[in-house]
């Protein structure tokens, strides 16, 4: 091998520091050549190595009786009984979506689906979480509508329904939108696959699309901030082919029925480099491949390009020696190329040849697990105190509560999101019992008697003011949503979206958020099974709101527990679990009415939260609850209005007695509250359940009629439901261009 005298700017252009370079030289005992430098640059990028976040993620709880696989594999796996395993994971595709929104979002969907079926699971649902700048700006409208189109275009064609998600708009996302996608699949517990190479001399087989020059440097790009030059880096965008992915799903799942495969891994970020290094490293083996055998789309590709390409819809499998023919037969059946490109070797070396000539030789561990882990300095920003202060006396009370409610319902963050989810097939596989639009999606499991509940949550406003509490609330809200759907919360996945971690105040946000997530997950006994960290979400020094997103899954032992958020029938009682306090800090109300993202977020008492959730779940299982909806953004009145806005809207008549500041009563976002409806004859049973958990439950009113009526001690409103519905439905209409 040639030893190059590597120029400092070449090192920097691979996203490596001088110290990191020295470490590489120390590990391999020589200077790397260009191919090797590229491989290190990709694998040691923030995106692949988690070098800024690893030490903090290690504090998260990851164990529990149901955990079959925690963080570290392509996806997390839960034992959900009946011999079934639930495989799920969430991923961000923020940077690619900013550069080319349609393809960025589409390939994000493709990538997370591959993470699920590589584990042996059939992917059966997707959820998307979106953050964009205000839709009043045409650029944001363009990005938003193209991202939604990309998710739809890929998800619909590949045949995995997108059953839910969330969308939130605020200025700091203008320069850096967020696209996070969660995928769930089911597998037989005894047929799980892992990405661990094994069996010396077993063939390493490349399957799927041919390699082009797409996405070279994707991982390093996702690990840098955007600047004026970002547009120039555009050619690195990869393009998705959902049809080929569908073939890959079917072919892989068919092969996994047999006994031919040892390990499977998709080629995502850092492509062939990552797949070979990680499979070898996890398996404690080496791998040798010859690039001459890699199927390619374009002539003249160099070893460097082949190792770093991020062409989509490609997988690497390790098969049993002797199974090559059967593997090839299945892939041929599905019209997919499969090529043996190498084999598993003894020792831990990743050896890359090009027509027999070595072009890279690196210990797999060095690439996959020996990247530096940084304890980056973190410090609470100076303006944190100011952000948390809120002088309510300076905020005038509204004089028309009805008008404020309509304004809130019409706002992009609270309005009906049907304009998004009607573009997604959300019914495929006949499992969607409670579909998009409710707190949690409830999906029937194969077999038909049980179901899972899913929710994605994250409150950017709270996290901006207090990332620790905001992150705790994200977990609490996700769990509460799952409970409202009738599910018992089991575990979470997450996407942690933050700015540049080399800035101490960003690092502080990150550490606070991770601490909050850990604490809440311990309280709810919902361990973390994996997730994704997306840093450097900033353009020209303006960071996004700190945005930890939580994806929670829960289990329903009986599909009959499935509960939606919508009132069901005239005459039903409306009741509230929990207390309403004078908490307006960081609320959507303040953001919309006063343009303020300020004041302490609502308090969260984890013990109370758990008690409220237990109460609701127990009442659902007792068959008393006809609808359950958590109070979150927009507060109690918005939750009540949303409960009225099912497929056939229905009115409600509410009496409130609390004597706190009326706008806090109506629009404050006190935690640990759930609006439920029930038959009047079940009231005493409900009271008894709540009392047993020491949870306050209040009768609020009665479902029925065609008006939305509410009377409080110092406020009131009375609107025809048609007007409430029209406001709520109008919010997104003009924002989603075709």
């Amino acid at each position: 091998m040639t030893v190059s005298v590597v120029a400092p700017d070449l090192i920097a252009s691979h996203g490596l520091t001088a110290d990191e370079y020295d470490r590489i030289v120390a590990i391999i005992g020589r200077e790397p050549n260009l191919v090797e430098l590229g491989m290190f640059g990709a694998m040691w990028s923030e995106h692949c190595s988690y070098k800024s976040s690893r030490v903090h993620l290690a504090t998260l709880p990851t164990e529990g009786p149901r955990i079959l696989q925690g963080p570290g594999e392509n996806a997390g796996v839960l034992d959900i009984g009946d011999g079934l395993a639930l495989v799920f994971k969430m991923e961000s595709h923020n940077h690619p979506s900013f550069i080319e929104p349609y393809q960025g979002a589409a390939t994000g969907v493709g990538g997370i689906i591959r993470d699920i079926f590589t584990m042996g699971a059939r992917p059966f649902a997707l959820c998307d979480s979106l953050r964009f700048g205000p839709l009043t700006d045409p650029k944001n409208r363009y990005l938003f509508s193209r991202v939604v189109a990309g998710i739809a275009g890929y998800g619909n064609a590949v045949g995995v329904p997108t059953v839910g998600g969330e969308a939130y708009f605020a200025e700091p996302y203008s320069g850096n939108p967020l696209v996070n996608v969660l995928c769930v699949g089911v597998a037989r517990k005894d047929r799980l696959f892992f990405a661990k190479a094994g069996g010396i001399d077993n063939p390493v087989i490349y399957v799927g699309a041919r390699t082009g020059r797409d996405g070279i440097h994707g991982a390093t790009m996702a690990s840098g901030v955007f600047d004026e030059g970002a547009e120039a880096r555009r050619p690195t965008v990869q393009v998705g082919d959902p049809f080929r992915e569908k073939l890959l799903i079917e072919a892989c799942l068919e092969l996994m029925e047999g006994d031919d495969l040892v390990a499977v891994q998709d080629m995502g970020a850092a492509g062939l480099t990552c797949a070979t290094a990680e499979m070898a490293s996890r398996g404690g083996t080496g791998i040798e491949i010859d690039l001459a055998r890699v199927p390619r789309r374009e002539p003249g590709m160099t070893a460097y390009e082949l190792m770093l390409s991020e062409s989509q819809e490609r997988m690497l499998v390790v098969a049993k020696a002797g199974s090559e023919a059967r593997v090839r037969t299945v892939f041929e059946k599905w019209d997919l190329d499969a090529a043996v490109i190498g084999h598993v070797t003894e020792g831990g070396l990743l050896r890359v040849l090009d027509h027999g000539r070595p072009v890279a030789e690196i210990p797999a561990d060095a690439l996959a697990s020996e990247a530096p882990a940084y304890h980056r300095p973190s410090s609470r920003p100076a303006e944190a105190d100011a952000r948390q202060r809120l002088d309510l006396d300076r905020l005038p009370l509204p004089d028309d509560y009805a008008a404020v409610l309509l304004e809130l319902l019409r706002s992009p963050n609270l309005c009906c999101k049907e304009g998004i989810w009607e573009r997604y097939d959300h019914m495929l596989f006949l499992g969607t019992i409670v579909g998009p639009g409710s707190d949690a999606v409830v999906l029937r499991l194969p077999g038909g008697t049980r179901a899972i509940a899913l929710s994605i949550d994250g409150n950017s406003r709270y996290c901006t003011v207090d990332p620790y509490r905001g992150a705790m609330i994200a977990v609490a809200e996700a769990a509460r949503n799952v409970v409202c759907g009738g599910g018992e919360p089991l575990a979470i996945t997450n996407c942690l979206n933050f700015g540049n971690p080399e800035r101490p105040e960003i690092m502080w946000q990150f550490v606070e958020a991770v601490t909050g997530i850990g604490e809440a997950c311990r309280a709810f006994q919902t361990p973390v099974t994996g997730g994704n960290v997306s840093l450097y979400n900033e353009t020209s020094g303006n960071a996004i709101f700190p945005t930890p997103m939580i994806g929670m899954v829960g289990l329903l032992d009986d599909v009959a527990y499935a509960t939606g958020q919508w009132f069901q029938a005239e005459g039903d009682l409306v009741a509230l679990f929990g207390d309403t306090r004078e908490e307006l800090g960081a609320s959507e109300y303040l953001a919309i009415r006063f343009g303020l993202v300020q004041g302490e977020p609502p308090a969260l008492d984890l013990t109370r939260e758990r008690a409220v959730q237990r109460t609701c779940l127990e009442a659902i299982r007792a068959g008393i609850i006809r609808s359950a909806h958590d109070c979150s953004d927009g507060g109690l009145v918005v939750a009540l209005a949303e409960s009225c806005l099912g497929a056939t809207p229905i009115g409600v008549d509410i009496q409130l007695k609390d004597t706190i500041r009326p706008d806090a009563l109506l629009f404050g976002e006190s935690q640990s509250r759930i609006v439920v409806s029930l038959k009047a004859t079940d009231w005493l049973r409900l009271e008894r359940i709540a009392a047993a958990h020491q949870v306050p439950v209040t009768r609020l009113g009665i479902v029925g009629g065609t008006r939305f009526r509410l009377h409080g001690p110092a406020c009131g409103l009375d609107l025809p439901m048609t007007e409430v519905e029209a406001a709520w439905r109008s919010g997104l209409a003009s924002s989603l261009g075709a």
């Binding site: 189109a149 739809a152 275009g153 619909n156 064609a157 045949g159 082919d241 959902p242 049809f243 080929r244 569908k246 073939l247 079917e250 059946k333 599905w334 019209d335 989810w421 009607e422 573009r423 997604y424 097939d425 959300h426 019914m427 495929l428 596989f429 006949l430 969607t432 019992i433 029937r444 038909g448 599909v559 497929a647 075709a738």
Partner: protein
């Protein structure tokens, strides 16, 4: 009754049809692989939803070239029952087994939602259990569902009583805002002249259980079973 569900690369509703036929109707179902021109003696062929061959070029255009489509054409020619839903409908029109074509929705984006359909004719083996004018609920889920046919073709459809379903509102009215994709004359489903091939954009298999919001799709399956029991020989010619 034995149903054969065709699987193209890119099909995705085949498992849903299988579920409904086997678990709900308790009838027999098998998959028919697109590369084989053998229908395995089924009594009814179903072309399911999905994106066969990615729907690249035009929805259904490439799928119609598969060997299985030769067998389906011969089967239909002999009087066999063929049901195409969503992508299946697109494939049938591309194959020339049903008149017309399906263009991109007029809103130019994909739509997945519940629709109301007015039953226009029960004179097909697929609709005997329904009443003309009856309103049924089934979801749609497609990007290319705008039915188009030229004037002469449309006249023939009307005169031949070949328009089987139209998009309508809950009361059966053909208001403009209940046409989800801009289909000509609100057309959601048509049959061939011989009435043994039905294509529709909506998904009957997604409306076959109360827990999913509608059982109306079962009316279509009940019609098929009923027609089959009454005259199995005429409804599947090549078995006779």
């Amino acid at each position: 009754m034995k149903f054969g569900i065709v699987v193209f690369p890119g099909s995705w509703s085949h498992q849903d049809f299988h579920h409904v036929i086997v678990k709900i109707l308790k009838e027999e179902a098998c998959y028919l692989w697109h590369k084989e021109a053998d229908l395995h003696g089924v009594d009814c062929v179903i072309l399911p939803g999905g994106f066969a061959h990615g729907d690249y070029l035009r929805a259904g255009a490439i799928a119609r070239l598969s060997p299985v489509m030769r067998a389906v054409a011969a089967f239909a020619d002999a009087g066999g029952l063929v049901l195409g839903s969503c992508n299946g409908f697109q494939i049938l029109t591309e194959a020339g087994l049903l008149p017309g074509a399906l263009l991109p929705n007029d809103c130019l984006h994909y739509r997945c939602r519940w629709t109301h359909l007015r039953v226009e004719s029960r004179q097909t083996p697929f609709t005997t259990a329904m009443q003309p004018g009856q309103v049924v609920r089934m979801p749609i889920s497609h990007g290319d569902g705008r039915y188009y046919i030229d004037q002469a073709g449309w006249k023939k459809l009307v005169e031949g009583d070949q328009i089987i379903f139209r998009y309508c509102d809950a009361k059966g009215t053909l208001a403009k805002d209940v046409n989800p994709n801009g289909s000509l004359d609100h057309i959601a489903g048509v049959c061939n002249e011989r009435r043994n091939i039905l294509g529709l954009m909506p998904h009957p298999e997604r409306a076959a259980e109360p827990i999913l919001g509608s059982e109306d799709g079962c009316l279509m399956f009940a019609s098929l079973l009923d027609s089959f029991v009454r005259s199995p020989l005429t409804t599947c010619g090549d078995r006779a």
